[in-house]
Symmetry: C2
Subunit: 191 residues, 2 copies
């Protein structure tokens, strides 16, 4: 069955973005992968059938047009309460979901078929999935940088997850860590 995989970059000190939400170079590895980071990207592209992301990753503001290119052959679901007023301009298939994470995941699962649903695109999205107890796996691209301050990937939500390491891929630009989720928010809270 398809798995739901949190797939995000994080600084060694736990941040997914700088203090103002800026990328801070954390995703540079993806656009110019070094060493075995290429393999990690290829594996992710092959295994991912749908992607759930936040509005900021799509592009902020009413007139955001989304990104026009992606190596992924996947349906993209954008969680937002305020969809942009004009349609995406590129060839990427975006669906705007305004009725919450569970709905986004249901649509993403249907689109992904036997492939995985990747959850990416920002700490708000990540923490929402952690809090809802919906993750099967966590893949962290641990960037060898310390930001000192910023927006934490897991925030307080993190304490709801118990993880078991399942593999590491080393590269000069990132250490790619995989974990299986043993227990998550929903289970811990008895839902």
């Amino acid at each position: 069955m398809a798995k739901v995989v949190l797939d995000m970059a994080m600084s060694l000190d736990g941040f997914a973005a700088g203090p103002g939400g800026e990328d801070s170079g954390l995703n540079d590895w993806f656009f110019a992968p070094a060493g075995r980071s290429r393999e990690v990207i290829e594996e992710s592209i092959a295994s991912t059938g749908a992607i759930v992301m936040g509005r900021r990753t799509y592009g902020a503001g009413d007139d955001a047009e989304g990104f026009s290119e992606t190596p992924y052959d996947a349906a993209h679901f954008v969680l937002t309460s305020t969809p942009p007023t004009r349609p995406p301009t590129g060839e990427v298939a975006f669906t705007f979901v305004t009725d919450g994470i569970a709905s986004a995941l249901e649509q993403a699962r249907a689109a992904a078929g036997t492939r995985n649903v990747a959850v990416g695109g920002g700490p708000t999205t990540a923490q929402g999935f952690v809090e809802a107890g919906l993750l099967d796996e966590v893949q962290i691209h641990l960037i060898p940088v310390l930001l000192g301050q910023g927006i934490r990937l897991f925030g307080q939500a993190g304490e709801r997850l118990a993880l078991a390491p399942t593999g590491v891929v080393e590269a000069p630009d990132a250490t790619h860590l995989r974990y299986r989720v043993l227990r998550n928010g929903a289970a811990q809270h008895g839902h």
Copy 2:
């Protein structure tokens, strides 16, 4: 020449201790190592000639007696402004250093000879060394747990470090990450 190696456990979300400074199980791997964690400990014991640590790790309070056993054949230097009123009771060689990090490091280097100086024992000590720009390497034992809140290992001090990954050892209880320090606080600030 001997290297100065920060050697500490950290939760996946960047904490070196719980909110009240409690260990939160982050050092369990050391006392009951699984899989290749044994190798990491053996390598650390063989390469370490002196250890610099904080007062909390030694034991809080006037009447703390220190820990009485350690697998390390190393001199222990405890950074503190208030040494305990009674001497350590065990066989571990402790020296209390009241005149700061540079002095502790100088004494530790002399004791270590050609072996390394390990910096351990708490985020205050770690951040002091980062801020003073004194680290050559960083070894993080990344524990597969998310605390959600606590005392961050690097704090704001982290932004002064630039790192290059040099190796990873995988184990079920910790992912052991090694980094070389490319640039640190002192260099960045022109001292």
